[in-house]
Every structure is written in structure tokens, then in C-alpha cells.
């Protein structure tokens, strides 16, 4: 539903978006991850037809963002960063305005307004002016606005910034729900957010896409190895001799010896189910196991790896 080809946009000498190419389809939640100033917002602004690009092409819902921008905008719901809203309008008044400019038929206007109020939990504030609302509620009104015409594509720029933890979870669940049938593209610089919500991640740095894949794919790409922490009550020599013979162990480090318990950090080939294999080894030798923990590779490592390396 979104096709982006070699999109480039610069502000004077700084290249904000550099040769960005990606595809996105319905039923995906696409997380746009990158440090501040990486070009996430600029890319989103181009896709929503707020800005144009210097070079490259992009189509959204089959329409060209430069040539058929009105059609594109009809198919998109967009929440810009920090949810800018008219502070002098009432919540209902604002949503009504949105139903009009979104050309909802008169018969559906009430129903859709009702629906987004329910979805975004605005029941308590419908009588208020937007100016009186807290940051979290404004964010929700912004989200309601972007959902009001039931768009097939939802583009959200940092939708969870400024929300409290329980609200963040609500918004994440909402995004997941919507992403089952539609396409959600959202940006964030908070890592746990993408692993919790996204079906696919785009990591962008200095205007370039440096990684594109599912959270699992990215984790494995980055390391290709699993790490297992193990502690065994047994003679150190015997363990180390055994470890050397195991094919799947690519490296092992002695971490500590504590009251007869020897601890190791073992690096194993990826997908070798090292923890389980090690457990069997321990059992076969009649040793006793006091700790066994497989470390999942953190997205944080991937992210730091990709973004720091690029900056160097």
C-alpha cells in the first residue's frame, strides 16, 4: 500500500532523507525507529503530502504523493508529532469539523464520532475545550482525528510521547488492533515500543534506512549467535574439557567460581538450542545445575550497533 523508491530530501546542505526505499502492506504495523533527527518525521511528512521530496517517488494506496496528493490524503489518517490541535475548539466541535473536511456522509458523522470517542477513551472530556486537556488526552484527540474516516493507512509520528505508562500500553494495543487489517506506520525513538508493537521495523539513521525486517530477523542478523549463562556444581577441569568437545559451542568464558559452583558464559551458534543441549550434557555427566539462562539478543544492541556504526 506504500511504495517508496529512492526518496531524497534535503534542507539546504543537510540531507534529511537519503535514498529511502521500502514497501509496506495492509496488515502490517511498521515501526520507524531512529535517533532524533534521523529523518523519520521528514519521511512521514512527504508520505502525507505535507512536504515534497527532491528526488525519488512514493505511492500511497496506489496514488502518487506528488501528482495525486488529494487522493493520497483521503486514504491516510495522520497524527503529527506532539498532536497539534486547535486549542480554542471543543473536543466535539473539533471532531465535527474533521467529519466535514473528511467528507463523511451526514448519516455516518454521528456514528463515526461516537466510535472514535469510544476507541480513544474520550468519554470524560467531550464537553471540554482542547486547550484545557492534559497532554495525554490531547494525544488521544489527535489519534481520534486520524481515525475518524476509518482510513486504510494510519501514519503516526511518535504517538506515545508524553503519555503515562498505562496510556502507552493502551495506545500500543490500539495500534496492534488496527494493524490487523490496516497499515500502521509509526515512528518512535523508544526501543521497547517497536518490539512490543511492530510486525516489521525500519531503522533509519542519518536519513538512510540501515535495517529493515521483523524484530526477530533483526536480532539474529545483528549477532548470529546465542549467549547462554550457566552455572554448574562440578570440577572445573572436567567441565572445561567437556565444553571443548561440544561442536555448537563457539566460545566459552569462565565467569566465576563460587563455593564449588562454576559459572560460564557460553557463546553458541545461533539456532542450536544451546541451553537445552547443555542441560543434557550436565545431566549425562551427573553434575548438578544451579543456573541456566539463555540471553535473548536485545533489539537495543541491534539499534546501537547500526546507528553508532553509521555515525562513525
Amino acid at each position: 500500500m506504500i511504495e517508496v523508491r529512492e526518496l531524497t530530501k534535503s534542507y539546504g546542505p543537510t540531507i534529511a532523507v537519503n535514498q529511502v526505499t521500502f514497501d509496506a502492506h495492509a496488515g502490517e504495523v511498521l515501526g520507524f525507529l531512529g535517533p532524533n533527527g534521523a529523518g523519520k518525521t521528514t519521511t512521514m511528512r512527504i508520505l502525507t503530502c505535507y512536504l515534497s521530496a527532491d528526488r525519488g517517488s512514493a505511492t500511497v494506496a496506489g496514488y502518487d504523493v506528488f501528482e495525486e496528493s488529494v487522493e493520497v490524503r483521503k486514504h491516510i489518517g495522520y497524527l503529527p508529532e506532539s498532536a497539534p490541535l486547535y486549542t480554542d475548539m471543543g473536543v466535539i466541535e473539533y471532531l465535527n469539523f474533521m467529519t466535514q473536511v473528511r467528507h463523511l456522509p451526514k448519516s455516518q458523522r454521528k456514528e463515526r464520532t461516537r466510535a472514535v470517542i469510544d476507541i480513544c477513551g474520550l468519554e470524560d472530556v467531550i464537553q471540554k475545550d482542547i486547550g484545557e486537556l492534559s497532554k495525554g488526552y490531547r494525544q488521544r484527540v489527535g489519534l481520534a482525528q486520524s481515525l475518524i474516516h476509518d482510513p486504510p493507512i494510519l501514519i503516526l509520528d511518535e504517538p506515545t510521547s508524553g503519555l503515562d505508562p498505562s496510556q502507552i500500553i493502551e495506545i500500543r494495543n490500539l495500534i496492534k488492533d488496527i494493524g490487523k487489517e490496516k497499515l500502521v506506520l509509526f515512528s518512535t525513538h523508544i526501543l521497547p515500543e517497536v518490539s512490543a508493537t511492530c510486525s516489521r521495523i525500519l531503522i533509519i539513521n542519518d536519513g538512510k534506512i540501515v535495517a529493515n525486517g521483523t524484530p526477530d530477523e533483526l536480532s539474529s542478523q545483528a549477532k548470529g549467535e546465542d549467549t547462554v549463562h550457566i552455572a554448574i556444581r562440578a570440577p572445573q577441569d572436567a567441565i572445561e574439557a567437556k565444553l571443548d568437545t561440544l561442536a555448537f559451542v563457539s566460545q566459552w568464558n569462565h565467569v566465576k567460581t563460587d563455593d564449588g559452583v562454576v559459572g560460564y558464559k557460553i557463546t553458541a551458534e545461533q539456532g542450536s538450542d544451546a541451553a537445552e543441549a547443555l542441560f543434557h550434557v550436565v545431566v549425562e555427566n551427573g553434575w548438578s545445575l544451579t543456573e541456566l539462562r539463555q540471553e535473548s539478543v536485545d533489539l537495543e544492541d541491534v539499534f546501537l550497533n547500526l546507528t553508532v556504526r553509521e555515525q562513525e
Binding site: S52, R73, Y78, D88, F97, V101
Partner: protein, 273 residues
């Protein structure tokens, strides 16, 4: 329209072609409908927002207060039931009031960031420009309408000339309309309302005084006809005389059109490559 459509279909054309043609003719009207819906939505929103904030009330109160004070001050001194003094002052009163009405139209949107949602709605840039302009014009019309209290009291006390009165009010709306377009353009240039206000005043002021005798007296000969034609005041005073000349109306409509076009360009300039 329907008759026209049928008349266009040649004899012998099949039914399906006829239907296709009818469909092709229908599209523009759906398009027109869409444009109207968009403009009306923006117009309503902006007009309501004038009354949601104190701007509209302050504008109306001060405008009516100041204009009646200026009017009645001379009215009782000269003891004549005419409104020439009132209308003569208007270009100068508008100079300060109208940029104050238009300054927020774009500058505030930019400051708040709401322009980003607004311009990513399925609305064309010029529709937003026109909608906002019409909203400010509606506020002006309401205010001017309320100031009809003055001529009504004049006609109660004396017998003013109806022609000059109607001419004066039409002139007031046309000139105010031109000021509004200039102010709207000024507002598209900046996110700071004060700058928009000052820029609006300055532009209106320059366009107003280039038609004044004192400026024309000192302009080179080749510039004289241009300045005297472009001056905002000269056309107004000829309308005030009760002569509704199409040239004057065309002049004001072109000023309005020109500055609305510039506004649309300025709004669109964010997309220039």
C-alpha cells in the same frame, strides 16, 4: 443543463456512449460539490474560532465604539445629517483593525503546528485560503452591518442621501475586502502574529498612500498613472461619491484576487523543490 447534455448526443449514438457522456458531464459537478464542502467547512471553523476567542468581540466593540465616536463628534459640531466624515475616516480605521483580524489566520496555525494536520487533509491549498478569507470577510460584514446603527440614527435626525449611503457601504466592504486579502497574505509569511500584523499594516498603508495627492505630487511622471490607479483610497472615494463604476469594482476584486493568489502560492511554497 440536462437539456444541453442530451442535445450534445448525436443521433445514432448508442445508449452506452450516451450514458458515458452523461457521466463525464456529471464529474465536474461532483467536483464542484467537493470544493464547496471544503470551503464551507473551513469558513465555518474559522468564523466560529473568531467567536471562540475574544477577537471578534473586541473587534466589533472597538470598531463600533471608535467609528461612532468619530462620527458623532463632528456630527453635532457641523450639525449636518451626512456620513461623509464617517466614510472618509474608514480607510484609516481599517488600517489598524483589519490586519488584526487576519493576522492569526495562518500565523497561529504555523505556531501551533496545526497547519500540518490541516494541509494533510484532503483539501487543496487554495480552498483553505478562500475559506479563511471568506471567514474574515464574514466577520467584517457582520461588523459593518452592525455599524448601520449610525446611518439609521442619522436618517432619524435628518434626511441623508440614500445613494451615497449605499455606495459608501459597498465601498466599505470592497475596500475592507482588499485589506483582508492583504492581511491574509501577510499572515502566510510568518508564524509570528505581531510580524503578520505589522507587515499587513505596512502593505495596506503603502497601497493606501500611493494614491494620495501628497505622494502623487512628488512621483515621477511615468509612475503617476500607475500609482494613482493602484492607490486603494482613490477608488474608494469615487465609490463614496455614489458612482458605482465597474472599473472601481474590478480594481478591488483584482486586488483581492491577486493577494489571495499570492497567499496560495506562499502556502504552497513549503512544497517547492
Amino acid at each position: 443543463m440536462a437539456g444541453f447534455r442530451i442535445a450534445q448526443i448525436k443521433v445514432g449514438e448508442s445508449c452506452s456512449i450516451a450514458r458515458k457522456r452523461a457521466h463525464a458531464y456529471k464529474l465536474p459537478s461532483a467536483y464542484k460539490q467537493e470544493i464547496m464542502t471544503n470551503i464551507t467547512a473551513i469558513l465555518k471553523k474559522e468564523f466560529r474560532s473568531y467567536f471562540n476567542s475574544p477577537i471578534a468581540y473586541i473587534f466589533i466593540t472597538f470598531f463600533l465604539g471608535i467609528s461612532s465616536w468619530f462620527f458623532f463628534r463632528s456630527f453635532f459640531l457641523v450639525n449636518q445629517a451626512e456620513m461623509r466624515g464617517f466614510f472618509g475616516l474608514m480607510p484609516w480605521i481599517f488600517l489598524f483593525f483589519i490586519p488584526a483580524v487576519t493576522m492569526k489566520l495562518w500565523a497561529e496555525e504555523k505556531k501551533l503546528g496545526t497547519v500540518e494536520i490541516l494541509m494533510t487533509l484532503p483539501i487543496r491549498d487554495y480552498e483553505v485560503v478562500v475559506g479563511k478569507y471568506l471567514a474574515s470577510f464574514a466577520l467584517l460584514a457582520v461588523t459593518v452591518l452592525l455599524s448601520l446603527v449610525i446611518p439609521l440614527s442619522v436618517s432619524y435626525l435628518g434626511d441623508p442621501d440614500g445613494g451615497t449611503l449605499i455606495g459608501g457601504y459597498i465601498g466599505l466592504l470592497l475596500m475592507g475586502g482588499a485589506y483582508l486579502a492583504i492581511g491574509l497574505f501577510a499572515s502566510t509569511l510568518t508564524e509570528n502574529q505581531i510580524i503578520a500584523f505589522i507587515f499587513g499594516i505596512t502593505t495596506c498603508f503603502v497601497l493606501l498612500i500611493i494614491g494620495e495627492d501628497i505622494v502623487l505630487f512628488n512621483t515621477p511622471n511615468w509612475l503617476f498613472p500607475i500609482f494613482s490607479y493602484l492607490g486603494l483610497g482613490a477608488h474608494y472615494s469615487s465609490i463614496l461619491r455614489g458612482v458605482l463604476d465597474s472599473r472601481d469594482i474590478i480594481y478591488y476584486l483584482s486586488v483581492i484576487g491577486f493577494f489571495l493568489y499570492l497567499s496560495a502560492l506562499s502556502v504552497e511554497s513549503r512544497k517547492w523543490r
